[in-house]
Each structure stands twice: as structure tokens, then as C-alpha cells.
Symmetry: C2
Subunit: 362 residues, 2 copies
């Protein structure tokens, strides 16, 4: 465990040694990593995730076009090494302010915008093959969880089933959480806190023996890693519960296949076993939602078209059926529309039925 | 306690009885409540909160212009009564879908937009004098808390000091939380989760013996009520920690004085004893932040002008001094800029010093 914890620091030290070694030999130090960006991102059918391709770029210290970025990456590496040594976590914004200063004897700032340090951290993710969380740079904190799970975190023994109406607040970094006991058969992730509160009040996690996880819209890296750890370490199926709309579908897509901007992290973040438990076209009749359809607006229609064309959905008949049905309906439906059938309809009818009938999309 | 819990239901029943009583007497039923909106909102110097004025509007059942709104309010009252009887909480969106249907024998929908049911809930807050949380309609869930506090919630005994890196996830509704033990001298509320994680990792809540509360930007009603309960029931000072910018100042303003849109709830939400612990103009030199100033943009400048003119800041010399200093600087500063001085500078220097010297604004 301790050895594993030292690995990221060793990788950062190695980077520093390589640079100084080249300099001692009076050679031009360089780093190399895969090109990021759409041109080098593709869908890998085997792993079912978005991946970076083979295009490699080299960055040299003695190169007018490269040297500033080179410096930035080395500086951020040094900051991460210090964080790891001190055992303290920083946010992206913290790292920016820690790097931001004038280069001695010049009028040039080492960085002017946070995007520069953000990119440097991505560089380090590629060079070290550790996630930024493992380099002690945290993403956003968001979301709550409830279920029959006992964990150890920073010396505290925490029972997710005994935390009242609020649940456990998910930290930005879940790498060091130790799972002591997991008594659940599956995980349901939902974007909407209000749905989570509904299911929690109805004690669905107890009745269906599952773990309920929510964010608020955006699925943070911390939440994605938490879902992934539950899926991989405990072989729990993960179901995604969203609206019947292109944005809900995209939330699912990112969790399952990864995202273009984080393609280099797919291996650490994508959960290919995840399934869609949200409202499907057939549910609209089945659960009496036809009076609660909402017309697609122009943005929805554009987004839907993009979904249709995504490489990873192209050969997926089930999903193409959903997209076509939504296009034909010209409408979307919200998960909360189920409340028209009764406040606990989702807890007592929709969810148990869907799960019993394995009525989800892969 | 149980009697108190029945009060909201009794108030809703009373409303129904008044309506049917009028109808039985063949009179025109009506409701009356204060006019909402800017024209009837003013700053009350005595209570130091925004308040509704004396303008009253009457809404009649037999009046073409009123009858639909009248119906909506009665329908939402009936839904709230059912929620209270079932002991289940709904979101605003749930209530909308529960009301949404066609009026029998007509082609008229009872409601078309959620704003209509939202308004009806505000009506009921005014008529019953209970908050919508007490009528079992919840707001958004957001935020985390840590500190030496033990609570009872839904039968669970929860210790806020023993919840690892995540903390307790604050529910949308904190009315029923029972405080068992509060061993803290004050509360610090911050908008940024990243700052909360920093302070928590440095165990500031233990070292300074305080409670740390965060949201992410927006201060939800649940968080405001939590802060208010800690302030009123345990006489704890509440400090607000934000950036040195007009938006940070406004977050403080809403917590302390209430907001125009929720003026009718000021009594239940505003915390007049709250103090500003965020970055002040003098701190920029004192803590070496001058290299990290960010130029005010046009939106910032407009917002700053509005702050200067707010009635509740007009006679406040300390605040006017801050506004003038910001205008003169033409710049704002982020709390995270303190990280330039060291990752734990905020925990080890800034906060302890500010609190020791009582260096905050009222």
C-alpha cells in the first residue's frame, strides 16, 4: 500500500532526473506524450472506450515554441511532488496560483491563465500514467451516497446506511477510501438530487438492496471513480437513471465510454459495464407519460443528431431505436413526470419493475 | 413536538374550510396576502432584513382574472396536506407534475408552467406562515458540513466529526434535524468546496473548534436554514468566507439581509448576526495578494454599483469603504490566491489571524 502510494512521487522524480541527466550531457531535454484533442481520439471497439491514438508529440526545452510549456510542466511536476510529500491535496485553481509568478530576471509570467497549468497536469497524467487525483490534485467535490456500505476514510469508520436524510458527502478524491463491507447488489446513479432524496426517503436502497449515488447535473471525476471502483472491485452493476432527453443520454455516454476531453483517462474513468435505466421511448406509454412530453427545442435536436452519429452508438441497434423514437416523437420526458402518477410511483413501481424485468439498455 | 408538526396541516385545512364555508353561504371565497415583488419590498432597519410591505392583494374564486390562480393555490394546498399526511417530501418539480392535468370537461390545463405551482407554494407560505419545507416541499440539496456536532436525523445518530474526507451531505430540508451536542465556538460558511476540502484536510474545524459549511456557489435554502439554526439555537457566530468580488459580497448580503425574491421568508432565513470573513481590501497588501489581482469586468462593475446603492449598505461605512476600495483598485481577488503563499497558508495564517483579531465586517 505504502509502496503503491510512493509510485506517483517516484514517477515525478524520474521525470526530473531525465531532464537533469540530459542537461548534464549537454543534450536538449525533451518529454514525449500522445497528442490530445479530437484528431487523435478514437473509439476503441475492443475496450469499448474512447482512447488516444498513436500520434506522439515531443516537447523540447531548447525550442522557442516549446520552452515555456516545458517549464510549466516541470514546475507543476515539482508542485505535485511537494504535495505528495506533504500529504496535502490541492485544487486546479490552487496549482495555478502556486505556479503563477514572474520568471526571475524577466518580465515573463510563468503562467497567465489557469488553462496552462490544467494542461500541464494533463501532461503529467500522460507521462506518469497516474491520474491527477493520484498526484494529489483534486477535481470538484459534489454529490451524495447512501446504501449498505461501510468504509474507512482518514481514520473514520463510516456507515453509509446510517447518515440520516443527508447521506455521505462524496469527496473530490476517492482513491484512498477503503471499502470494509459492501452489502448491495447494484448501484443506481442519478443526476438529480431531488430524485435521490425521493428514493432515499422511500428507503429504496434498503428495499432493493442497492447503493444510491447522485451529483447535481455534472458527473464529477470523484463520482465517476467511485462508481468505477464499486463496479470493478465488487462486480456491482451500475445503472444510470436520467431523463428521456439527449442530455440524459449523454451523461450515460460519458460514464460508459469516456469523454473526448478526458480520452487519455478513459481507462481510469470509463465503466463499460454501465447500463441505462432512465426513461425509454417505450416507457412513455407503459407508464402513462404521454401527457407530460416536452417538445424538443433546437439545441436538443442538434444534440440528438450528434448522438446518432457518435461512433460508439452507430452500430448499437437499441440506442439507434431510442434516438429514432425521440426524433419521431419530437419530444423529451422528465423522470419527475412519474410523480404525476403518485409521489412514490418511481420507488414502488417504476424502479422495481425495470430492475426485475432487466428493462435497461446497454 | 407532534402538535407543532400538525400545525402546518391544520393551517391548510383551515384554508379549505374557509373556502367551503363561503361557498355554503353562497358568498365569493377569497384569499388575501401581501403583494410580492420589488414594489412591496423594503429594508427594515429594526430587524435588519428585507421585508414585505403592507400592500395586500385579494384573490377571488368568482373572478375571471383570479379564478385559475385561486384553483392552483387550493390544489397545491391539497397536495401539501397529502404530503404531510403521508410524511413524504416533494420537490417543486414533483408538485408541478402532481398538479398538471386538464380541468374536467374543459380543454384548460390547471397549470402549464412550473412557475405557476411555484407561485402557489409561495402563496401558501404567506397564508399559513409556514415555510415550504414545513409544508414538505423541499428546495435543492447541496453542500457539506464538518465539525464537532452530533445530530439525530431519521433515527440515525450522526457525528459530523467522524465522516472522513467527505463530511455530512446537507439535505434540502433541515427542519427535523435534532442537535444532540454542539461543541464549537463559531461557524464558517464558504461558497467554494475546494476551500472547504483544504480547511478540512488541515483539520481547521478541530484546531479552531468550529463548524465548516460549504455549498458550491449558490447558498441553498437548506444551508441558510442550517446556518440560522446554529446561530439562533446555539448562539454561534456565523462567518462568511468569499472572494473579494461583488459576487462574494452579494452571497454575504443574501445570507445576512435576505433576498428580494424571498423577502416574504426573511424572518425564517436571514441571519442578521452573520459577519464577513472573506478577503477585504486591506488584506491585499497584508497578505501579499497584489500580484494576483484580477481586473473587474463590465458585469462586475455593474454589480458593484448596485451593491453601493442597496439601502442596507448605504449607511454602512465599513462596506462603503470596501466598495470604494474595489472601485479604485478596479480589481478583484480570489480566496484561492492565498495558495500562492503556500497550500496551507489559509489554514495556518489567514483564518486564525483574522479570527483572533476579529478582523471581519458586520
Amino acid at each position: 500500500m505504502d509502496k503503491l502510494k510512493n509510485k506517483p512521487k517516484e514517477e515525478l522524480k524520474l521525470l526530473g532526473k531525465k531532464v537533469t541527466h540530459k542537461l548534464e550531457k549537454k543534450e536538449n531535454p525533451y518529454m514525449e506524450f500522445p497528442v490530445r484533442g479530437l484528431s487523435n481520439v478514437s473509439y476503441d471497439k475492443k475496450s469499448k472506450t474512447l482512447k488516444l491514438g498513436d500520434s506522439i508529440s515531443k516537447r523540447y526545452f531548447f525550442n522557442v515554441a516549446h520552452s515555456k510549456k516545458f517549464l510549466q510542466t516541470v514546475e507543476v511536476a515539482s508542485i505535485c511532488k511537494n504535495l505528495l510529500e506533504e500529504g496535502k491535496h490541492a485544487s486546479l485553481r490552487d496549482v495555478f496560483y502556486m505556479v503563477k509568478r514572474t520568471i526571475p530576471n524577466t518580465k515573463i509570467n510563468l503562467v497567465d491563465e489557469q488553462t496552462e497549468t490544467d494542461k500541464a497536469i494533463e501532461d503529467l497524467e500522460l507521462i506518469t500514467e497516474f491520474s491527477r487525483e493520484q498526484l494529489y490534485v483534486n477535481a470538484n467535490k459534489m454529490g451524495s451516497v447512501v446504501g449498505k456500505v461501510k468504509i474507512l476514510d482518514r481514520g473514520d469508520a463510516i456507515n453509509w446506511a446510517k447518515l440520516g436524510s443527508g447521506g455521505w458527502s462524496i469527496p473530490s478524491n476517492v482513491e484512498d477510501i477503503k471499502f470494509e463491507e459492501v452489502k448491495a447488489n447494484f448501484v443506481v446513479y442519478m443526476e438529480k438530487q431531488a430524485i435521490w432524496e425521493r428514493l432515499h426517503e422511500d428507503r429504496v436502497w434498503e428495499k432493493l438492496n442497492c447503493i444510491l449515488v447522485t451529483s447535481q447535473g455534472q458527473t464529477t471525476r470523484g463520482i465517476r471513480r467511485l462508481l468505477q471502483r464499486l463496479c470493478e472491485e465488487f462486480k456491482l452493476p451500475v445503472y444510470v437513471l436520467t431523463d428521456f432527453d439527449p442530455w440524459g443520454f449523454y451523461i450515460y455516454s460519458v460514464i460508459k465510454y469516456g469523454s473526448i476531453s478526458l480520452a487519455h483517462m478513459s481507462e481510469k474513468m470509463a465503466i463499460s459495464g454501465v447500463k441505462f435505466l432512465g426513461i425509454m421511448a417505450d416507457d412513455i406509454d407503459k407508464y402513462g407519460l404521454s401527457k407530460h412530453l416536452i417538445k424538443l427545442n433546437e439545441k436538443d435536436i442538434t444534440r440528438l443528431k450528434q448522438m446518432v452519429d457518435y461512433e460508439w452508438f452507430k452500430d448499437n441497434k437499441e440506442w439507434q431505436k431510442e434516438f429514432a423514437a425521440m426524433k419521431k416523437l419530437g419530444s423529451k420526458a422528465e423522470i419527475q413526470a412519474l410523480s404525476a402518477r403518485g409521489i412514490s410511483f418511481i420507488s414502488e413501481k417504476y424502479l422495481p419493475e425495470k430492475i426485475k424485468n432487466k428493462d435497461f439498455i446497454d
